[in-house]
Symmetry: C2
Subunit: 410 residues, 2 copies
């Protein structure tokens, strides 16, 4: 019996799913030992010139009611009506693969429970890192590990902008304009540059790694709008680069601290060399030590590759894959706030007089790792100490233009 797939949303990703499916149909069928076909494409629009125009439908109910449809690829984006549609598909026992990070970050717990209740799967490999295999490796290959930390470049748009500021000495505004021209950034770029996109992804990774749903509201999130090209230049002088880093750490008390913020990444960290629209995710565990996954964070076929990988896994799975799951939570007290955040820091300074920086650092109990005419790197400290240092510098006439935490990659 041929098992049927429905694709929700026929935009960039949805059309990529259909294209890649038919390109590699034989291979996919051999891998799954199952005959497969795309039966429906749900979209509000018509696509009269499309080779698959005859599969286009406008009513989700057609898909929900069709028992031939076993698998659904959700590529619509946004929470409404994606949530209602996906939930209805799961309730009908159809497994769903999604590329929609907002949906997973905001409603993952509910949809995972719906999948479990109906003995099917809610998969979301494409929601983090686009093409990069990260979700499945986390709960399969790395399943014997106690995960302690995850940190990555989870947004290609900001990584492209920061690279242009780094390599071509562009201002943020010019680099953003270029990203928009090239189609890497939206006309309203807020979700990318203000960190919401990276925040959703670190929510998903945190939820999966630590077993409880982390909602976007509980994650400290800072974008890259305030990064000046002088910050990027100083980082370069000090042997690093500025990257927007989504990260989560498990604290000693068992709570976790997820953050999204621009960070300085020193050159000896592989992630500092991840450029352009590529993404990379590092994972630390007590068995593997450190591992990294790298690839295209977005794009038609790369994202489709991840969605279809999920469909293939859904075909082969015998019921719900419990390990790709997490619990809903009543309160978020397991998520720590920035008062627990510690990191080395880069300070961009003006009006430095000789030895003044080192002496001031000493006086507050931190040490200067390296220094140039326009700033310094100091040893790890918490937010209070970082502010105390800045205040003391200002009190002796040194102007603090910026302070950016440094990613520790051990």
């Amino acid at each position: 019996m041929v098992k049927k797939i429905a694709v929700l949303g026929y935009g960039v990703v949805g059309s990529g799913v259909v294209e890649l499916f038919y390109k590699n149909k034989k291979k996919i069928e051999a891998n799954t030992h199952t005959e497969l076909d795309v039966k429906y494409i749900l979209d509000l629009r018509e696509f009269p010139d499309d080779p698959y125009a005859d599969k286009v439908v406008h009513d989700i109910q057609v898909i929900i009611d069709d028992p031939e449809v076993c698998y659904v690829a959700e590529c619509m984006g946004g929470v409404n009506p994606a949530f209602q549609f996906v939930n209805a598909c799961l309730e009908a026992g159809k497994s769903v693969a999604t590329s929609n990070k907002q949906l997973v970050a905001e409603k993952g717990d509910i949809l995972l429970a719906a999948a479990k209740k109906n003995n099917c799967n809610f998969f979301f490999e494409a929601s983090v890192g686009g093409a990069i295999p990260i979700i499945r490796p986390l709960h399969t290959c790395l399943a014997a590990n106690d995960i302690s930390e995850i940190a990555g470049i989870l947004n290609g748009t900001t990584n492209f902008i920061l690279e242009k500021m780094f390599c071509d000495k562009m201002d943020f505004a010019d680099a953003l304009s270029l990203a928009q021209e090239l189609g890497y950034a939206e006309r309203n770029p807020s979700a990318d540059v203000d960190g919401a996109d990276a925040c959703r992804k670190i929510c998903i990774l945190s939820s999966l790694a630590f077993g409880k749903h982390v909602y976007p509201e509980s994650v400290y999130t800072k974008g890259i709008r305030e990064i000046a090209k002088e910050d990027v230049q100083l980082a370069q002088e000090l042997g690093g680069a500025v990257k927007l880093i989504g990260a989560v750490k498990r604290l000693d008390d068992g709570r976790i601290l997820p953050t999204v913020m621009p960070m300085v990444v020193l050159n000896d960290s592989l992630i500092s060399h991840v450029n352009g629209v590529f993404n990379a995710v590092m994972v630390w565990g007590d068995g593997v030590d450190k591992t990294m996954f790298y690839g295209r964070g977005a794009g038609k076929l790369p994202t489709a590759s991840a969605v279809l990988g999920d469909i293939i896994d859904a075909v082969k799975s015998n019921g719900t894959v419990d390990s790709q799951s997490w619990e809903a939570v009543e309160d978020n007290s397991f998520v720590a706030g920035m008062d627990e955040f510690k990191a080395p820091r880069m300070y961009r300074l003006e009006n430095i007089s000789e030895d003044s920086v080192i002496k001031t650092a000493e006086s507050v109990g931190i040490s200067v790792i390296s220094q140039t005419n326009s700033g310094c790197l100091v040893s790890s400290c918490d937010e209070d100490k970082a502010k105390e240092f800045a205040d003391k510098l200002e009190s002796i006439g040194i102007i603090v233009k910026a302070q950016i935490p440094v990613l520790e990659d051990n």
Copy 2:
């Protein structure tokens, strides 16, 4: 019912498997919804002071005959008696996870067939890239892709040696001695420095990606013994590094070309920044474009992490996972030889006179990409053309000290 695990070989990896299993037993049991325990440790030696001394047995038959033992971790190394032991376990319906690349590269087809016949699994995530999740992502997350190429740093020992030659200007011999002192290289370092270890790993990756068993004998394999520190230095001047690269490419005629050889990797390739004993594997597919997996290529707990990831998957699998498999082959005509190999090249030269290199290159139909006083990079060409260029250079009095292909990372 508690399902039992047997560990074959209680050396570095085997003891790591036992240690990591007990450290994260609760997490592993939660992931698999199965109570698990290590029942036997097979080794010729006694370990009277070991906390698990009571589990040590010396006769494989005890394990084979015990119906409680469902899973076997093979960490002995070598083909004999590992092959006989693993085969007997599979024939008894016990799934086996191995870290033994030699076993998989030489006998994988037979053992995969034995697993299939007995509805159990022969898994080998740890056999390539140690801790790095690569085997499972290849046949799951990337399953919707037509894989066109794989290239990676598959041997940490040689990567450490080449890094020492690069960063500390050491000779090969001194760098090897240091690697031996630090325990990264064996007293007989041949398997590492002559490429056999990397060859076994590219055999495994090639077999899995292209579906037919690739035996080590059919892979062109060249190690790093002939690499001089002047080669490493020239690569640096030309904006790259020398790495031992295991690679496989699918040719236009459908055949594949697996190779192991030192290659120049230019700095804009992420893999050029992979240092020390770390490994990294790049995979190109028609969906994902390019992706990379990075981590520790060896070591007690990193390798144990991969072996236990396999055990966890074996517990959760309902019968044989067919996609992690390949066919035995009667002839190896699908494997192409070096006459099909094409790449840009680095030439280390002496006695260069002005313009002579560019003119000679032009005369044989290749172009010079960049040049220094001691060598050049030229555009992609096959082995015949590469030799023709070298011969012509020699004929005008330029001495060709070395020629090293360049990895193309597009």
